[in-house]
């Protein structure tokens, strides 16, 4: 009985580490490789961001940003095995506490949203997308509300910035 309890305890301890590690590992594997870009914004940086004097009419945006604890991006636009990488990343995640939220398919591009939930609160949102030669994984951690995030773009949509992403894709 006692040994069972200790084994369970150890398993739980390792599970926590494994969850933290799956994305870190993926990043580490491809970081620094040719054509891959990584972006890290840590909780420390978010503390500093919080100290930047607020600007008006960005209330919605800052409300979201204030609750973030980390942003990580790994992306490439020119990688032959992008499809495989996408599949690999996708297979890796659900086993580590992530649940699939939705899929968007557009031409040859597929985007998946996965979340890790802590009861009602979403603690991590992952946007995974892969195309023929492009791949990107965006991980956002913090106290997240999907409605708040999607609302940001609604205001943009009204302002006519529907093609923001496509604009951004061009260097």
């Amino acid at each position: 009985m006692r040994s069972l309890v200790s084994v369970l305890f150890i398993m739980i301890a390792f599970k926590g580490i494994a969850q933290e590690n799956v994305i870190t590992e993926l990043f580490r594997e491809y970081e620094g490789q040719e054509n891959f870009t990584t972006i890290y914004i840590t909780s420390k940086m978010f503390e500093m961001i919080a100290q930047i004097p607020e600007q008006e009419d960005e209330e919605d945006l800052l409300n979201v940003i204030r609750k973030l604890t980390g942003v990580r991006v790994l992306s490439t636009d020119n990688y032959e095995d992008a499809g495989d990488l996408y599949q690999k990343a996708y297979k890796l995640l659900p086993g580590h506490g992530f649940e699939e939220l939705m899929i968007v398919k557009e031409n040859d591009k597929e985007t998946k949203f996965l979340v890790r939930q802590n009861r009602e609160v979403i603690s991590e949102l992952i946007m995974l997308s892969g195309g023929r030669e492009s791949f990107s994984i965006i991980s956002i951690t913090g106290d997240l509300r999907l409605k708040d995030i999607s609302r940001l773009s609604k205001t943009l949509d009204i302002q006519g910035f529907d093609h923001l992403e496509k604009v951004d894709d061009k260097p």
Binding site: M45, I65, L152
Partner: protein, 170 residues
């Protein structure tokens, strides 16, 4: 013997303080004498004791009791549940070792993840701008899904309506 005396003896009996002699007195009393109505509930018990007291066991239990051969009892080998002291020490040492290794590993992993997560930006303004960009990108995708979903909801509503009118027509 009068009623009061017997009452005292019975009380003593229930407190388990009576001597064998006193118990014999009780048995005899209930066997022979006329029992007052208050004591009738106890009469059965002591009468029974009285009737059984005559029985005696045979002086020696025969080894062939009941015609069976006496079984020669062999000591059964049992596993000693109380582990030898050195097993306990070994288990304790092992446990400490395992905890130590786990602690080491956790520390290493934490260090590595701290080491690997280096801020891309040193300037908070830049980081903020990048965060905004990323958030808008995610938000845009999310919004797209939401819009499609609401469109789909409209579509299924319409379909339902269509079906209803169709069934009405029939």
């Amino acid at each position: 013997m009068d009623y009061e005396e017997i009452k005292i003896l019975i009380d003593k009996y229930w407190r388990c303080e009576s001597t064998l002699e006193e118990e014999k007195m009780l048995r005899d009393y209930f066997l022979k004498e006329h029992v007052p109505s208050e004591l009738i509930p106890y009469a059965g018990l002591f009468k029974y004791y009285g009737s059984v007291s005559g029985l005696e066991t045979k002086k020696i239990f025969s080894p062939h009791f009941g015609g069976r051969q006496a079984e020669v009892l062999q000591p059964v080998k049992t596993r000693n549940i109380r582990l030898a002291w050195y097993y306990r020490v070994a288990a304790a040492v092992l446990l400490i070792l395992v905890l130590f290794v786990i602690n080491e590993q956790v520390g290493k992993i934490k260090q590595e993840s701290v080491a690997i997560v280096k801020d891309t930006f040193q300037d908070p303004e830049e980081a903020l701008a990048e965060t905004k960009r990323i958030l808008f990108m995610v938000s845009h995708e999310l919004y797209k899904v939401e819009r499609e979903a609401s469109r789909f909801a409209e579509f299924s509503k319409a379909e339902e309506k269509f079906r209803k009118t169709k069934t009405k027509d029939k």
